[in-house]
């Protein structure tokens, strides 16, 4: 009995420690972001701020640190590339799931192999292509690259599509619908839950992507949240209270999203990793 009890205690202690390690580093950054310059210099990192409603640093980060523009650019890129990616992904999944054709295995293999390649490495050669398309230093570069082929989304769609009975397609085709109508009118609306999952997973990935915007959109006006935050390093090098505010600004949307959509996120990530 005593042994059992101490095992339970050990279990909870380890869990609480883990929670502290996971959240602690973020909490101290939140503390720093709410301190004034003088207060920051005076106090240690573990001291909570005097005024919990001192948003001065956030205003600095938003206006002078160009975080506002970063969020706007990220939003535009997210909206366009997600729409494109969902369209491309569902088309591919529809073809792969609903047709038996020669070369199907090869096509699947091509998508799968592409997903194994570390994306940063490919940029050595992708750069020339983006450049010759005239997309360098435009939002188009990021949109096209994010829209491109994403096997995780295709995989989520394929899994879900397998649960949509083929008899639905057949019934529609007997009524005179062609393949496109079946895709557009039947499959796409029924895929909504899978699309939601894919949007969340891919949305988070795009929101967090750093190197592609860094490489292809060096112009300050085209900063997304990652690159805008990265550029804090120079001008605010020593002003940790401002850098902290920028960091919190970037983290906050993710935390809120996670609180509301946990279930989708877990499911989507597991599906994606086990492709």
């Amino acid at each position: 009995m005593i042994k059992r009890l101490s095992a339970t205690t050990a279990k909870y202690v380890s869990l609480i420690l883990a929670a502290i390690v996971c959240v602690g580093p973020l909490v101290v950054v939140l503390f720093a972001s709410l301190k004034s310059k003088q207060e920051y210099a005076r106090s240690g990192p573990l001291d909570p701020p005097q005024d919990w409603l001192n948003f001065e640093n956030f205003i600095t980060a938003f206006t002078r640190g160009a975080m506002l523009r970063g969020f706007a650019n990220t939003a535009v890129i997210l909206a366009l590339s997600l729409t494109g990616a969902i369209f491309v992904g569902t088309l591919a999944a529809y073809a792969l799931d609903r047709f038996a054709f020669r070369g199907r295995g090869i096509v699947y293999g091509l998508f799968l192999t592409a997903s194994l390649i570390p994306s940063v490495l490919m940029q050595v050669a992708t750069f020339q292509i983006i450049h010759s398309l005239g997309l360098f230093n435009t939002r188009g570069a990021a949109i096209l690259l994010f829209m491109g082929t994403d096997v995780v989304a295709i995989y989520i769609f394929l899994q879900f599509m397998a649960s949509i009975p083929v008899s639905l397609d057949e019934a529609a085709m007997i009524d005179g619908a062609n393949r496109w109508t079946v895709y557009w009118r039947i499959i796409l609306p029924l895929l909504k839950p899978a699309i939601a999952t894919a949007v969340i997973i891919k949305g988070i990935a795009i929101y967090n992507e750093f190197y592609i915007p860094f490489l292809y959109m060096p112009s300050k006006d085209l900063g997304v949240i990652s690159t805008s935050l990265y550029r804090f390093k120079g001008p605010y090098g020593a002003q940790w209270e401002v850098i902290s505010a920028g960091t919190i600004l970037v983290i906050l949307p993710t935390v809120i999203l996670f609180l509301f959509l946990q279930r989708y996120i877990y499911r989507g990530l597991v599906a994606g990793a086990v492709k």
């Binding site: 380890s14 869990l15 883990a18 929670a19 390690v21 996971c22 602690g24 580093p25 101290v28 950054v29 990192p45 573990l46 369209f87 491309v88 088309l91 591919a92 073809a95 047709f99 054709f101 020669r102 070369g103 090869i106 096509v107 699947y108 293999g109 091509l110 998508f111 192999t113 592409a114 194994l116 570390p118 940063v120 490495l121 490919m122 050595v124 050669a125 750069f127 292509i129 096209l144 829209m147 491109g148 082929t149 295709i154 967090n208 750093f210 190197y211 490489l215 990652s226 935050l229 990265y230 850098i243 902290s244 920028g246 960091t247 970037v250 996670f258 946990q262 877990y266 990530l269 086990v274």
Partner: protein, 325 residues
């Protein structure tokens, strides 16, 4: 599922379907005549694949083919002409001690990844049983994985700086003797960065393991308990075999992740102080030193290694369908 090799040539996106031939397996099939309807049926899937395959070709396989081509040239990324110099870039790469040094940096992250898997497995195991605050702890351990890499970089720069969170916490615990130049000491910098990586990625392993463990039928545990098995026996004989495939998958992700480590050292130290990784070295060759040929050779070698590792995994552990959702 077929196991693909490196397909260096771009697929022809809208290629018309291959002409009818009798296909193997010893059956000699007389080709059916090409009726209008049959042509239509054969072409339709490719019409749907036109856009996806076109993008795949443009953004993955065309660059991959170019990578092979560039790697045999001395191109600087700007010149109109590219001189073919044969295997010179590869020779240079394999004789340059710097290359081995940056590759060795991956070892720190590989060790980090093993630690990360151990931690993830421990928490996945204890959280797979019903307990109080189960979802709360699950969320806590998982959510660092979702955070923006640049933000994570800054959070840990703040943690590791002199007089930063870590030093103050150590002092608070009476351990100020342990205070170090966490990012300034070349001997320590990679350990600190690998630790950051562990913090960032443990959540992913954890959720994968947890999903696999929870898909093990609960009757197995009940039966084991009837047979007098304790928790340790259950872990060893039920849980571990039950998550074999996900475990192997995590090993592959760990290896390819360690080889391709980029964001954390790039954001936090810029590769300074001996923390330069292979990928940082590759992109700085390509975009700062303008040695696209050499960078292409480097990228290609790493790519082949990553694909090889994955291929081996798929050979060793054939696909079993496991439902993890």
């Amino acid at each position: 599922m077929s196991t693909p090799n490196t397909h260096a040539t771009p697929p022809r996106a809208a290629a018309p379907p291959a002409p009818p031939r009798s296909v193997g397996q010893g059956r000699s099939v007389r080709p059916r005549p090409w009726t209008k309807r049959r042509v239509f049926n054969t072409v339709t899937p490719w019409l749907f694949l036109l856009l996806p395959l076109g993008l795949l070709a443009l953004l993955t396989y065309l660059p991959a083919a170019n990578l092979v081509y560039y790697s045999f040239t001395d191109w600087d990324g700007i010149d109109k002409t590219k001189e073919i110099i044969g295997p010179g870039n590869y020779a240079r790469m394999f004789t340059d001690p710097e290359m081995y040094r940056v590759l060795l940096v991956s070892l720190y992250y590989l060790v980090g990844a093993l630690v990360q898997m151990a931690i993830a497995l421990y928490f996945a195991t204890i959280l797979s049983f019903k307990m109080r605050l189960q979802n709360f702890f699950k969320g806590m351990i998982f959510f660092p994985y979702l955070l923006n890499g640049v933000a994570v970089g800054y959070v840990f720069l703040y943690l590791f700086r002199e007089g930063g969170t870590l030093d103050v916490t150590l002092a608070f615990l009476g351990l100020e003797d342990l205070t170090q130049q966490w990012l300034g000491d070349p001997k320590l910098v990679n350990v600190s960065l690998a630790a950051t990586s562990v913090w960032r990625y443990t959540g992913m392993n954890f959720v994968l393991f947890l999903g696999a463990i929870q898909s093990i039928p609960s009757e197995l545990y009940e039966a084991a308990e009837l047979d007098g098995a304790n928790r340790w026996h259950q872990f060893w004989h039920i849980i571990l075999p039950g998550i074999r495939r996900v475990f192997a998958l995590s090993c592959i992700l760990a290896i390819s992740g360690a080889l391709a480590v980029f964001e954390i050292p790039f954001v936090m130290t810029g590769g300074g102080n001996g923390s330069k990784s292979f990928v940082i070295q590759t992109v700085s060759m390509a975009f700062m030193h303008r040695k696209v040929g050499l960078a292409a050779a480097m990228a290609l070698v790493l790519l082949v290694i990553v694909l090889l590792v994955t291929w081996i995994q798929r050979k060793v552990l054939p696909d079993e369908r496991v439902d993890l959702a």
